[in-house]
Amino acid sequence: MAEFEVQIKEENLAFRKSPILTDKVMHYCPGCSHGTVHNLVAEVIEELGIQDKTIGVSPVGCSVFAYNYLHIDWSQAAHGRACAVATGIKRTNPDKMVFTYQGDGDLAAIGTAETIHACNRGENIAVIFINNAIYGMTGGQMAPTTLIGMKTATTPYGRDPKLNGFPYKIADMIAPLPGVCYVTRQSVHTPANVRKAKNAIKKAFQNAMAGKGLSFVEIVATCNSGWKMSPVAANKWMEENCIPFYPLGDIKG
């Protein structure tokens, strides 16, 4: 009979909180993808040993308070302007690792110009783009990424392209730009996807530090409160509806 000795030792712990994460209780709703992605960013910063070099730029939206959850220096940007703020930081501090963390309303609606031009200049930054197809913080209004037929507070009968236009894939739009070195679309709704997303974020950070240009990591995410679903149902809905329209995988690099 095989004998087990359970070894509860620091080096054997599979799940441990990264010291980059703060102890503050997150304001995110249970089931929200933000907490998982924050954790991945923290682990990447820890593993690369770049806490003292990293400056994050938080957006306007649910993740405006990202700065409360990671032990790094942060600049909070006006709505949509994160990529311009990151440009100013990186250009005057080329030895720093600069990244933005933005939602779909921030990055793909009000901040479209700042995003595309930072991409086109090939700023040596990483962009983490949380696409949950809705405005979370203001109460679940339509985002540029909201799917056709999807009900939101401002599309109560479902998004009608005649009235509201079409959802668009900004990752595919910026991928051809020569200043962009890496574009990928990931998710964090299964452990396997979480691992892939972490690798993507790590690669993006390494690219930025190596001066290869802009790296863009889109995370197809859930907003179960905005979608008015349980966390489990939101994950299932995302799999069945969002991922077919926003397919996962590397787009460039």
Partner: protein, 364 residues
Amino acid sequence: MKKEVRLMKGNEVLAEAAIRCGADGYFGYPITPQSEVMETLMELKPWETTGMVVLQAESEIAAINMVYGAAGTGKKVLTSSSSPGVSLMSECFSYMAGAELPCVVINVTRGGPGLGTIQPSQSDYFQATKGGAHGDFHFIVLAPASVQDMHDFVFDAFDLAFKYRNPVMILSDGVIGQMMEKVVLADQRPRRTEAEILAAEKDWALTGKTADRNEHIITSLELDPYAQERFNNKLIEKYARIRENEVRYEEYMTEDADYIIVAFGSASRICSMTVDMARAAGHKVGLIRPVTLYPFPTKVLHELAERGVKGFLSAELNHGQMVEDVRQAVNGLAPVEHFGRSGGAVFSPDEVYQALLTKIINRK
């Protein structure tokens, strides 16, 4: 050591002064009548000499947000624009005031409203001095009247910006931006080293979180209204200190004056000739030129009114903006009138003189 003296355009001097004062970065977007600022910087390539960054942004909105980002790291950064471009930047002005970021913004004002004209104007006085965007805040505002001022005020503006951790605006206009004058250039100052920035701005700047300190966060967001009010009170106290310590103005022939013209920037140059004309005709007229528009030289104007000045004329290249501050300073002790031209039209010394006669000296 012999100083370097050159004949230069106001806008070119802004670029030269930015490099010489040891600025770390300039972010801008072309707009008439100030495009020579960035053009001159690109020509001079300071990134090869002092290491100063120069970047043409995709919009004024992006340019000012690049300034916001860089200023948050303790760097000396500036931007320049003209009226419509400054309006585009105004959202971020409020964020910078709320985050207490030192930076310098130059407005080479043109005629408005709307897209307006490309000729000089002073119609952005309200925007510059009364806040200029949402929320309770103030720029410190310097108003140059010569090409030499354009040079000197870049140095002064950065000193004030870092002294108070507050955005500073240089409110110029198309006359001073475009005209050429003799200017004495300061010697090149080195940019601050990383170690110097770390030492000077150690309490707040984004220099990277190290084990010996907590993380630094540049933000203007607060959910608790009472915490926001406490912060606002701190800003109000800062503005009170600025009003107490930083008022600057120039006087011309005010000692025995019965009548005072108040004019700033390029208008003050024109009005100094009006004073000479009036004096030649036997009228005791003097000029007060506010150098700082915020803080406004309220005290000197009030003292002149108390001393018995019989009337004040606020001569501005707009339809009457600074006149409100002059009225507040005089506080009913004497008549205060406005004379102005707008839309890019500039008054002559004689036009101001005629207005002075009609509105003040021969007033019924």
